[in-house]
Amino acid sequence: MNDTKAPANLDLETPEKTYLDSNELILNMGPQHPATHGVLRVILKLDGEKVLGTECVIGYLHRGVEKIAENRTYTMFNPYVDRMDYVAAVSNGLGYCQAVEKLLSVEAPPRANYIRVILTELNRIASHQLWLGTHALDIGAMTPLFYTFRDREEILKIFEKYCGARLTTHAFRIGGCQYETYAGFEKDVKNFLAFFPPKIDEYEELLTTNRIWLERTKKVGVISGKDCIALGVTGPVLRASGVKWDIRKAQPYANYANFDFEIPTGENGDTYDRYMVRMIEMRQSLRIIEQAVNGIPEGPIMAKVPKVIKPPVGEIYHSIEAPKGELGYFIVSDGSTQPYRVRVRPPSFVNLQALDTMVRGMLVADVVAVIGTLDIVLGEVDR
């Protein structure tokens, strides 16, 4: 386990001995750069085009979410979590609500759990779609971006009809869901279930067997399962490296134990495997949604939760499988209405740490591909 070297830090001062004594180049990629998905700054040390080392400079989007949490009540903080991983806001909300519910020893009613699962899985698809579009664009394929955004629209429409917001949904409340499903919710979801599989085929048609796509992604940014675990990398990246681990299966939450789905894994841990894993995950999410929407029970959607949430003194760690990996909330309560400390364990932040391991010795173009394949959202990295 310990043979992975910690990401060594970039020594910018002393020039490394390079090929033919030519100079190495220090390239500042970002914070304003089309391929860094926001305001990530990667300092690259290059020999020609070869990457000798990287250093990530983050924090440009730091908003002090954890500090804000200490100054808001439990309920008031709920919308803030949507602003971290803003492309998967529903997952963030689910994680937070469940963590607080655990602290309160409350269980959300079954119908609420079904709604939660449907929306979360829809959100997982939306997040993967956004990842696919931007990742393909980074590698130079323009068209998938527009296809994925076209189809993501259908999911956002369902969110909008359900809770009025498209991106930062604030869909769930502590103890369940605030809103009952709107009339036609099930029909919309079923329509989407029929609508979407051909669209995945369409994306795959453009990319999966595309020669250039294969060359650009196979054997690029390889990371072994062992390295993944050592570096704390989770989510599709970990699964693509052959570790069959998904919190939905390993430590099921929110009714996931009742659904039948598979965890896709890759073998090589390269960018192509990560691509395939996410593509299959989208299909598996559809399976979960199908089971959920067909089995959705009647009943209340809100558990009995006091108006003013005052959890007993104690601390809790709860994590869920967000589209990007393990999203954990560590909440310390001092018995008051405000959390004493909320720690968010952001998957993007930890996954980004693997960038250096993955791109050393590769080319500049691969850095872009690997940033894309790690599927980071800077809002979550910087919080």
């Binding site: 590698i139 130079g140 394929a141 323009m142 068209t143 990319l207 650009r216």
Partner: protein
């Protein structure tokens, strides 16, 4: 330039009388040593290429948009027809920024060199047997040589910007162009070799002679020694995309890696010069491909419809002469359809009128061309017939080039970008051996056949 090129004029053609029939001129102005007409041709071609670039700009944006389930420019003019003009005006009046640390002189001259190289090649592009500025006896060499100078502009721009992204873009560009030129040159040589496979064994480097040789041999070189010609053509078609830095070989300006590559630091007019040069170069290399493999100005089915040699078959001549006019009428019809389908709202009145006028202009051109074709056929006047033939020569040439332009857009919509080492691998390990093999096999087949 024309003075120089006139020295290079090939066959000692008798200087034709300066007639009105520009397109029906018997020889190129260069051959005729007629400086005035050469100048006029240069101006016509310059204007034509510039208009083509502007049109290409609009078409690319529209076509790409429709590939990607969106509409593209819709606001400036009906269906965004005036968008390129608006863009041009914007670029022209933008502030001219030269980075403080840049090398001023090189920064200034780089886009000029790129543009110069891209436009100079048009002196030998044969739009017809006499529709070229000049016919050099080393025409194809001249084209390859001058278009290979375009990379200097890119390299100089990248270096002069004194910034990292442009520098990497320039490095990529120089390596890419040099490697693909080799495969490209070998593919060209195999086509030139085909020109010599005639009875007297003389080959040609002259652009016009290459096309005329295809006419004499009665086959476009893409179909000659099938599939040898086709393979050479495909190699050229791949290499030419790489030469012009277009997707999927657009590494020197890969926006997701190098922001904008070699022209990251350029803006306004200078940037538009690069843009102009890129599109002009695209058209130029496409016309090389058309000339070498697709029979240049020759209309389709030259041998099927009229026999292997080129006697004038009046009926087919006439039918094919109608194509240019019909095409413009068709474009006009599309514009009319757009006009009819415009929203009926006062807000759209000006746009509707504009699109209608555009349709009218297209239809007018179509009617004029049809008129020339029909009139020439009816009257039998030699000058008119020559003019009509000249028009259809230009038409077929432009049509074939336009197909390549569409392919460029298609590539861009479909493919991801190659990585630098993969690009080199494709150039040196795939294209180069294949093109060498094709050259050798072509030579052997040629010897066996003759």
């Amino acid at each position: 330039m024309s003075a120089l090129t006139s020295y290079l004029g090939s066959t000692a053609g008798a200087p034709g009388t300066a007639g009105f029939a520009v397109l029906g001129w018997a020889v190129t102005p260069g051959e005729a040593n007629n400086q005035l007409w050469a100048l006029i041709y240069v101006l016509i071609i310059f204007a034509g290429v510039s208009v083509a670039v502007i049109a290409m700009n609009w078409i690319e944006r529209k076509a790409l948009a429709h590939f990607q389930v969106r509409l593209g420019p819709m606001r400036v003019g009906p269906h965004g027809l005036l968008q390129p003009i608006a863009d041009a005006v914007k670029l022209l009046i933008k502030e001219d920024i030269i980075p403080a640390e840049a090398d001023k002189f090189v920064f200034w001259i780089a886009p000029v060199i790129g543009l110069l190289a891209a436009f100079t090649v048009y002196t030998v592009v044969p739009f017809g047997p006499s529709q070229a500025v000049s016919d050099m006896n080393i025409g194809i060499l001249f084209m390859l040589g001058v278009s290979s100078l375009g990379v200097l502009g890119i390299v100089m721009a990248g270096w002069a910007s004194n910034s990292h992204y442009p520098l990497i873009g320039a490095l990529r560009s120089s390596a890419q162009m040099v490697s693909y030129e080799v495969a490209m040159g070998l593919a060209v040589i195999s086509a030139i070799l085909m020109t010599s496979l005639n009875t007297d064994g003389t080959g040609y480097l002259s652009m016009i002679e290459i096309v005329q040789e295809q006419q004499r041999q009665g086959v476009w070189f893409i179909f000659k020694f099938f599939p040898l010609g086709l393979i050479a053509f495909v190699i050229f078609a791949v290499a030419m995309v790489a030469e012009t830095n277009r997707a999927p070989f657009d590494l020197p300006e890969a926006e997701s890696e190098l922001t904008a590559g070699f022209h990251t630091e350029y803006s306004g007019l200078r940037w538009s010069l690069f843009m102009l040069a890129e599109y002009a170069a695209m058209i130029a290399v496409s016309s090389i491909a058309v000339t070498l493999w697709l029979g240049g100005w020759l209309r389709p089915f030259p041998n099927w419809l009229i026999g292997p040699v080129w006697p004038h078959e009046p009926v087919w001549d006439f039918i094919f002469a109608l194509f240019p006019g019909l095409t413009f009428l068709g474009l006009g019809a599309i514009a009319v359809r757009g006009t009819v389908r415009m929203p009926k709202h006062p807000y759209f009145r000006i746009q509707t009128i504009g699109l209608g006028a555009f349709a009218a202009v297209l239809a007018g051109i179509g009617v004029l061309l049809l008129g020339i074709a029909i009139g020439a056929n009816a009257s039998g006047n030699a000058n008119w017939l020559r003019a009509s033939e000249g028009l259809s020569n230009v038409y077929w040439f432009v049509l074939k080039v336009a197909i390549f332009m569409y392919l460029y857009i298609w590539y861009r919509a479909t493919w991801p970008r190659y990585r630098f080492d993969q690009l080199m691998k494709v150039g040196w390990k795939v294209l180069l051996p294949i093109s060498l093999g094709v050259l050798i096999v072509t030579a052997m087949v040629g010897v066996i056949v003759s």
